[in-house]
């Protein structure tokens, strides 16, 4: 078995009793090194969601992906292999751990009814059903098949989709696929502003 330097330190950390010139001495524990908190953590390669440098990040989670473990983030740091950031991160990237462990995260669907002064909870099924119903109603109400000059328009003018710029290419493509097929023209994105 190999002994690492850390083990040496652990040995050193054990206190003892020794005799000194002037009497007895309860030897304190010298050099108690903290354990490296990510020593056996699982490492996932990801990309920072903030600016467009696209820094590689390593997300450390507890567990070794065994079935009986729910992973929990314990640390995030830069990916030293990533050619652009080479392990560095900015103050936003460095705090990504908190973005994942944030108690402010939304965790359940909610609805605010017309005239209501507060949110109420709603099941996913009901929420999605109601949204689909709204979508169809508004599309059917506002769909323009031919424009004033009788030319094919096939557009839905009553619904707008606005997308953020921190989601994936694939999600964005699915947005274009679904929304264009619904006929949306008010299709805009953070990229505009």
């Amino acid at each position: 078995m190999q002994t690492s330097r850390r083990d040496f330190f652990k040995v050193a950390a054990v206190g003892g009793v020794a005799v000194t010139v002037f009497g007895f001495d309860l030897k304190p524990a010298y050099a108690q090194l903290k354990e490296l908190k990510i020593a056996r953590a699982n490492e996932t390669r990801s990309t920072c969601p903030y600016c467009a440098v696209g820094c590689g990040v390593l997300i450390y989670t507890i567990g070794d992906r065994a079935k009986n473990v729910t992973p929990q983030v314990i640390h995030v740091e830069g990916d030293p292999d990533h050619p652009t950031n080479r392990g560095t991160l900015c103050p936003k990237g460095s705090s990504l751990e908190q973005d994942m462990l944030n108690p402010r995260r939304l965790t359940k669907p909610q609805v605010r009814r017309p005239g209501a002064t507060d949110w109420e909870d709603i099941s996913w099924d009901n929420a999605l059903d109601e949204i689909a119903r709204w979508t169809k109603k508004t599309r059917d109400d506002t769909f323009v098949e031919k424009d004033a000059n009788g030319r094919t328009a096939n557009r839905c003018e009553g619904i707008s989709f606005i997308g953020g710029c921190t989601d994936t290419n694939e999600f964005n493509y699915l947005v274009v696929k679904t929304m264009r097929s619904l006929g949306l023209v008010y299709l805009e994105n953070q990229a505009r502003v």
Binding site: T20, V21, F22, G23, F24, D25
Partner: protein
């Protein structure tokens, strides 16, 4: 006065007890003394690595650090109480100055060659005042050390002064303390007891504090 009476009285009379310290004075003294001993042990632990083990004796470094300032406050309070009790008796007068000139006699145990002194001799008075002023310095420097973090960085020279003052003054009081203990507990027989039970023999009082003896013996002497 008959010879018999004289001879009888001379032994018994010499051993007769006169009150020297009130209960309050004794309680206060021992509060102060115990506090000082604690401060000494913990202070010495912080003073020298070779004595750091002393901290372990009183519960370990952090405990010693936590209690040292509080006990310091007790010691300070005790000394202030002493001041209230004794400041009248501690006034330095001409008799003391005369006594001071004869100090070599005192050192050489030639007490009979010393001029008579009152309740406290010049040395005791010096000790008292030295201790009193030291504790003020210790208090001020000690509070600084107690709450180092509260002192702004721009006033850091206060910190620098405080560590030196606290250590040097403490050392000074250790000297005082050693002399005090030596003289009262070892050198001068009967002194120690007086601080325990409050009484001294007439002979002790006559020997060491004759003026005081004469003051107090008046009321308690046999009616002639």
């Amino acid at each position: 006065m008959t010879t018999d009476a004289v001879s009888r009285s001379s032994a018994a009379h010499n051993e007769e007890m006169v009150p020297r310290y009130t209960l309050a004075e004794r309680v206060n003294h021992w509060i102060g003394a115990l506090a000082y001993i604690y401060l000494l042990i913990t202070g010495l632990a912080f003073w020298s690595p070779y004595l750091y083990w002393l901290a372990a004796v009183v519960g370990g470094g952090p405990v010693a650090r936590a209690w040292h300032p509080w006990v310091g406050l007790i010691f300070t309070a005790s000394l202030f109480w002493s001041f209230k009790q004794w400041h009248g008796d501690m006034k330095i007068d001409d008799a003391d100055r005369a006594w001071a000139k004869a100090i070599p006699n005192y050192i050489q145990n030639e007490d009979d060659k010393l001029p008579p002194v009152g309740r406290f001799n010049y040395g005791q008075k010096l000790f008292f005042w030295a201790m009193f002023y030291s504790v003020i310095l210790l208090l001020l420097s000690g509070i600084t050390l107690w709450y180092t973090e509260a002192l702004p960085w721009s006033l850091r020279f206060v910190r620098y002064a405080a560590i030196l003052i606290h250590a040097s003054v403490a050392l000074f009081t250790i000297g005082l303390f050693l002399i005090h203990v030596y003289m009262s507990a070892i050198l001068e027989e009967g002194s120690f007891g007086s601080m325990v039970h409050g009484y001294v023999t007439r002979a002790w009082a006559w020997t060491f504090h004759r003026s005081w003896y004469e003051q107090v013996s008046g009321g308690s002497r046999r009616v002639q």
